[in-house]
Homo-oligomer: 198 residues x 2
């Protein structure tokens, strides 16, 4: 029996888990949960994840695991997506926490409001735009002269951070202003076999 | 040479790292960084952590690691604070990500505004109070009938979540309404050798 991924295809957090499974050839069944229709807030869903958030993975024995980055770390254990060196692994984990605290709440939220709540970019809270750009600027500095975020190979840090960075323009951010970020997005997409999002 | 922890003593995120070091008897030198005076935004500090956030740990070889939960995971590697079982470890990591995304941005931010920006509790954004209470309610449900968050022993999940939960009243939250959370805070504090915060 394969694992089941409960996720919404419009969510970068959910796609992270799909990308890892596809790359590592982990068999899964995708169960679409429409967050716009409130399907992550039903009693049935909350019984699986009391936090009311997607993605959630049900393992073959029925146990549930939530939080995109925690799921990726679990599924990729022992693979090349997690560095063997303890310090490199810690730096990768540092990026994962930074992504959820200082990147996703601005880049993903701006994009959600523009794409799915029809808010004009000009009416976004200035804080979203400022902090989103600060996150992109930090990525730009980190990626200058580098191929991937940690070490010389693709790791979960790249998958986690590319998930919403590749969609940033949908929230009004201009990646052309961050050229090393843009090149890295194309590189990670290519490694994952993904087409750029128009 | 011991590690150096750059942190502000008023910050729960920084204290997490101190708690782990004290418990595991890891030698460290505490370097106080006054965030209220902008000391985490100086050029010298940004050279160590480009995210401009505390805590940061400098290892004995000078390499820097940021993000409280990432630092704890690195320092506690191989200790009883990280479950040996892969699924239990994943659930612990799930709590760490939930803490940074769904708990700290409300519980810690409300407390910061009340304690350090002199904002009356009645003038806090309603969103902070609602989501802070939602986080406490989720902890209450998770802790009913349990001693610690994951398995039967103290793990990093407890240390991470207790850091600001034990200060929640300073942001206007009433832990008496969440009695299993309150009992768990006392239990974790006792395990860590900490006195309750008045």
């Amino acid at each position: 029996m394969t694992i089941r991924i409960f996720g919404d295809s419009i969510s970068g957090n959910c796609l992270k888990v799909k990308f890892v499974c596809d790359l590592l050839r982990i068999a899964y069944q995708w169960e679409e949960v429409d967050i716009l229709k409130g399907e992550s807030r039903t009693a049935a869903f909350l019984a699986t994840n009391p936090a009311g958030q997607v993605p959630v993975v049900l393992l073959s024995d029925g146990r549930a695991l939530a939080q995109s980055n925690a799921i990726m770390l679990y599924l990729a254990e022992g693979s090349s997506l997690i560095p063997g060196d303890a310090f490199a692994r810690a730096k990768m984990v540092e990026w994962l926490f930074w992504e959820q605290y200082s990147h996703e709440p601005y880049i993903a939220v701006a994009r959600f409001q523009v794409m799915y709540q029809q808010k004009p970019v000009t009416e976004l809270e200035p804080r979203l735009i400022e902090r989103g750009n600060a996150a992109l600027a930090r990525l730009q500095t980190a990626l200058r002269g580098r191929t991937f975020l940690v070490g010389s190979e693709l790791t979960l840090a790249d998958i986690s951070l590319v998930a919403y960075t590749r969609m940033a323009h949908q929230g009004g951010f201009d990646l052309a202003a961050y050229e090393d970020v843009q090149a890295w997005v194309r590189r990670v997409e290519s490694t994952l076999g993904l087409a750029a999002i128009a």
